[in-house]
């Protein structure tokens, strides 16, 4: 009798980064719930204060983050097209003490350009968000202005810090990618793409969180 076996693909990236991602999502989830329930208690204040936010800046930032995420996904996909190293050659990422075997491939250049585009989008996000913060601080708004701005500033700044951390990871990955450090592994090998995939997964998490944050804070009044 023939049996139909569904082969599930492995998780893209390191297990540790996914546990970290889930922990981050949990923290953001608690933050969102706290915002939503506090909004319920101060409806008029939140409605009035939300009207003072720049929806266009939030929209531009969303466009930058989703574009950045798409670029990072394209970078990972480009590296996947590189042929694996032969079994005898040790993959670059599995060696800690010895000199890693790195074989550069033209697709590494393609992938590093995509990743660089993702980094530029992330920097654009920081620029726009920084402009928003400067405008608010210039208008005398701070954490102690009222409950809405306490939430707005702390929630968006918490996310802002995650964007910075994501960018630091992407820059580190980009530097290694330019050297040809990542490529697909042969079956049974530890994936030499783990670093790239882990950095990408973290970046997409930052994007996913903003996908909820943007309508919650800027649009849902």
């Amino acid at each position: 009798m023939q049996q139909l076996v569904t082969v599930r693909k492995p998780l893209a990236g390191d297990l540790a980064i996914w546990i970290f991602i889930l922990a981050e999502l949990l923290v953001f989830g608690v933050f969102f719930a706290a915002y939503a329930f506090t909004r319920l208690q101060h409806l008029e204040l939140f409605r009035t204060m939300q009207a003072t936010l720049d929806v266009n800046a939030g929209m531009v930032n969303t466009l930058l983050l989703v574009t950045g995420s798409a670029c990072v996904a394209m970078a990972v996909n480009a590296v996947r097209q590189i042929p694996p190293l032969p079994q005898s050659a040790e993959p670059a990422e599995t060696t800690e003490t010895s000199t890693p075997v790195i074989e550069w491939h033209p697709l590494h250049a393609v992938a590093s350009r995509w990743l660089l585009a993702g980094i530029v989008c992330g920097l654009g996000f920081l620029l726009v968000k920084g402009g928003e913060y400067a405008a608010k601080l210039g208008a005398g708004i701070s954490l102690s202005t009222n409950t809405f701005y306490m939430f707005y500033l702390s929630l968006t700044f918490f996310h802002f810090m995650h964007v910075i951390l994501g960018l630091v990871i992407l820059v580190a990955v980009w530097r290694r990618l330019r050297q040809g450090a990542y490529r697909p592994g042969l079956p049974g090998q530890t994936s030499p793409m783990n670093g790239l995939e882990s950095g990408a997964a973290y970046w997409h998490m930052v994007d996913l969180v903003w996908i909820v944050l943007f309508p919650l804070v800027y649009v849902l009044s």
């Binding site: 492995p10 989830g29 409806l43 969303t62 798409a70 996908i211 849902l220």
Partner: protein, 96 residues
């Protein structure tokens, strides 16, 4: 899925996310026609679709071994439900 197909999926998802973001940012203009419930429903549905696309295509969680996809989508669903609940409570609907 081969690399070319995956590239196409990424581009399709990116276009969808861009369009959905523009829709979301301008949804407030249609609020009088949609009503508060319709407005919230539109935002919630678009937000779910955007998050689901990011998880499945960008994070590559579709078809992955283990509970990862359901953990991420479960988080998204739970967060959206909590937001929807508090929003509807704020509307003072008789059923809530």
């Amino acid at each position: 899925m081969n690399s070319t197909d995956h590239s196409r999926s990424i581009i399709a998802v990116w276009l969808f996310l861009m369009a959905a973001t523009l829709l979301m940012a301008h949804a407030a203009a249609w609020r009088p026609e949609l009503g508060s419930l319709g407005f919230a429903g539109l935002l919630g549905a678009v937000c779910w679709l955007k998050g689901e696309r990011i998880a499945d295509i960008f994070m590559e969680l579709r078809g992955v071994a283990g509970p990862w996809r359901w953990l991420v989508l479960g988080w998204l669903a739970l967060v959206l439900l909590v937001i929807a609940y508090t929003y509807l409570r704020g509307l003072n609907l008789p059923t809530l």
